[in-house]
């Protein structure tokens, strides 16, 4: 009797030990993969950014901050993030809520709205270039309507406002869908009962949105914001296609230093700066949008 109990205990312990190890074994390949292809290059990049001519130095950072495009790139990148992210979140939230109300054809609408997700960002930039360039569709349409007399330029250094609007439009078209997908998933998780209960108490749609939808959507909003903001700090291909050198952004400068100026140290300094900015943004979102577990269904 006693033996049997011991035997069962031993089996249990062995199973438990195996159960403890198994999850780690299962994630080991992913960890190995990340270490080899992410952590190692990351450490190398950081090291590279702090070396000039084989010795440790801050030279690359001095070179970066002293460059004539540095201030402009910082300003442009932040302006884009500040303009694009709130617009995208508002738009995606609106689209997501409308989708909830659709009785039929929801999948089709969602599918159409997410088409831009399948387009590479450089291709998206080129599509918008075809619309906005001198001989593009916009000018053709305006010309036919008699609104412009000839080719009008929208995308050069002398028209910074329309260039900025063009880039914002392209970014909205391209990347709102990713926010939408995350928010739609979040909206579907909100139990109907809360809304029904609110209806009984006579809550207006606005109150329902503010008191029920928005708080319960916090975790999804957080993920969407983190993802979009990090990607927005890395914006490159769309800007490159539409603005070229007329609209320097951080990633673009890293590319130019790496590829054209062939100074890998300064390029690495830019990469480290972009990472620091993205990390800071993520940290702020994690703090500001923390959803306490007890407030979630």
């Amino acid at each position: 009797m006693q033996n049997m109990t011991q035997g069962a205990d031993a089996g249990h312990v062995a199973r438990k030990a195996r159960g403890d190890v198994l999850p780690y074994l299962l994630i080991a390949p992913a960890i190995l993969f990340l270490t080899l292809l992410f952590l190692v290059p990351l450490v190398q990049t950081i090291a590279l950014s702090f070396t000039t001519g084989g010795a440790w130095s801050l030279g690359n950072y001095a070179r970066m901050t002293g460059d004539l495009n540095f201030g402009v790139a910082i300003r442009n990148t932040f302006m884009l993030v500040i303009a694009v992210i709130p617009l995208q979140v508002a738009l995606a939230l609106g689209m997501g809520l409308m989708l909830q109300k659709l009785a039929r054809g929801r999948d089709i609408v969602l599918w159409i709205w997410t088409i831009p997700l399948g387009v590479s960002d450089l291709a998206a930039g080129l599509v918008w270039l075809a619309i906005l360039q001198n001989t593009g569709y916009l000018n053709s349409a305006l010309f036919k309507l008699g609104l412009i007399a000839g080719q009008t330029a929208w995308l050069n250094a002398e028209t910074p406002v329309t260039l900025f609007i063009g880039i914002v439009l392209a970014e909205m078209w391209r990347a709102t869908a990713i926010v939408l997908v995350i928010l739609v998933a979040g909206l579907q998780l909100i139990p109907k009962e809360f809304g029904e209960a609110a209806d009984i108490f006579g809550a207006t749609p606005w109150v329902k949105f503010r008191r029920i939808t928005l708080p319960l959507l916090k975790p999804s909003l957080q993920s969407a914001l983190i993802l979009r903001t990090v990607l927005a700090f890395e914006v490159f291909a769309v800007v490159y296609a539409l603005g070229g050198r007329n609209f320097p952004v951080l990633t673009g400068e890293a590319f130019v230093w790496q590829n054209e100026n062939q100074n890998y140290g300064v390029a690495a300094a830019y990469a480290v700066l972009i990472m620091a900015v993205s990390l800071a943004a993520t940290f702020i979102y994690l703090k500001a949008l923390r959803a306490r577990p007890e407030t979630q269904p």
Binding site: N134, A157, Y240, G244, R245, E260, N261, Q262
Partner: protein
């Protein structure tokens, strides 16, 4: 059932991978020809289908200059060679010289002696040393292309084949004033070659130098002239990469660029265009001949094959075919046939007029600055950006950028190259 399905899938997958792996030629003696030139896909295909026809079996691959250098250095350091033959600009081959990645090709030079490649070009291929390290392959330069629509606005007394920078400015202004559109264009976009215009055309035309006189009084006058001229330049210039595109779109009537970047426009409607020499400044009509060379890698998997391919590419008939198909001109003695396509003929005549101009001033591509070439170009484009686009005062900008240039020259210890006067040590920035 599902298990057997999975088995079948796995077997299929294995079969596919096996097929892919065996389909990849892994023979050690495969002859790989890596080029930084003729990169656009149609041009690369012409090299494979037409130019290499009759040569030993060759795999022609292309890469951008920066990864090209990295790959060649990596293969050299690792001692594991896949590339036998390289084709690149003089300045792109140069970083391979100090590390000893290029094999001496004196034997090939001897074999192509009868082709009469000009001695001055062969000399460039020695990088100032004893041995021939590359064989000149083809040459090109930069020209002005003018759409005939622009001719009615040419200032009185100006000869379109012997323009000065002042006349170009007046011409562009007249066009802008009378048509309401700024139609002079430069390739100042991300992939454009505008830095070459500044260092090889504008600067030497005004100062007979691109380094020593960088911050001279003549340079100061030049920048204020150029700033005035820029008021008549199409503002989209900072997005132009290949000037054939805005020319064909009608955005631009007068454009400066590398001859191969005009080819499509000139071949599509040759009757619309003139090809004329670049403008002249107070010190002459500066122009930059571009030399593309063929080198053999030290430790090449197939040296004999590479040498044979070079000899094939140096045949007069291959060189003429190269000109007709790519717009790069022969380095060997070869008479271009009369039935050359009209667009290529225009380019050939434009080059001849440039080289034979009375005031022609040949300028070398930067020599001896190795992997600092990008930063050297940046000095010129930054100066342009600051003075012309951002309106910063000329004198302090030139002084600040001259300091950056001094650093680059000091790091690389590059002596002066033409048209700067020869220096015994690193080229001084006065």
């Amino acid at each position: 059932m599902p298990t057997s399905w999975r088995m079948a899938l796995a077997a299929g997958f294995l079969a596919v991978t096996a097929a892919v792996t065996t389909a990849r030629p892994a023979k050690a003696e495969e002859l790989v020809f890596l080029s930084t030139q003729l990169r656009p896909i149609e041009e690369a295909q012409k090299v494979r289908d037409l130019l290499l026809k009759g040569a030993p079996k060759t795999t022609f691959i292309v890469d951008e200059p920066s990864p090209f250098t990295v790959r060649m250095q990596a293969e050299h350091t690792a001692g594991k060679h896949t590339v036998s033959l390289v084709g690149a600009l003089h300045g792109e081959l140069q970083p391979l010289v100090p590390i000893g990645a290029l094999d001496a090709v004196d034997d090939v030079a001897e074999a192509v002696k009868s082709r009469n490649i000009p001695a001055s070009l062969m000399e460039l291929g020695k990088f100032g040393g004893e041995h021939q390290l590359y064989i000149p392959w083809m040459q090109a330069t930069y020209v002005l292309v003018v759409k005939r629509d622009a001719l009615p606005y040419l200032p009185a007394g100006a000869d379109v084949n012997a323009l000065t920078y002042d006349q170009l400015a007046q011409w562009a202004k007249a066009i802008a004033d009378k048509t309401g559109q700024r139609r002079l264009g430069f390739p100042a976009g991300p992939k454009g070659l505008f830095a070459r215009f500044l260092q090889g055309y504008l600067y030497p035309s005004y100062t007979a130098s691109s380094v020593s006189e960088f911050r001279s009084a003549a340079a100061e006058a030049m920048w204020s002239d150029f700033k005035t001229l820029w008021a008549s330049v199409n503002p989209n210039s900072t997005s132009y990469d290949f000037m054939q595109d805005p020319l064909q779109a009608g955005e631009v009537w007068i454009a400066w660029d590398h001859i191969s970047r005009f080819k499509d426009a000139l071949q599509a409607t040759p009757e619309d265009y003139l090809v004329v020499p670049p403008p002249a400044g107070p010190k002459g009509r500066a122009y930059m001949p571009v030399i593309v060379g063929l080198g053999i890698v030290k430790g090449a998997p197939d040296r004999a094959g590479a040498a044979a391919v070079i000899q094939h590419l140096e045949k007069p008939e291959t060189q003429i075919l190269t000109a007709a198909e790519t717009g790069f001109f022969p380095v060997v003695e070869a008479k271009l046939p009369a039935d050359l396509s009209p667009g290529i003929k225009l380019l050939a005549e434009g080059i001849a007029r440039t080289q034979n101009a009375k005031d022609a001033l040949p300028v070398l591509l930067p020599v001896g600055i190795g992997d600092k070439g990008g930063e050297f170009n940046k000095v010129f484009t930054d100066t342009f950006q600051r003075i012309v686009l951002r309106g910063e005062p000329v004198r302090p900008t030139l002084d600040a950028e001259a300091a950056v240039m001094r650093d680059i020259i000091a790091t690389t210890k590059a002596p002066c190259w033409a048209p700067d006067k020869p220096s015994s040590g690193p080229c001084p920035v006065n």
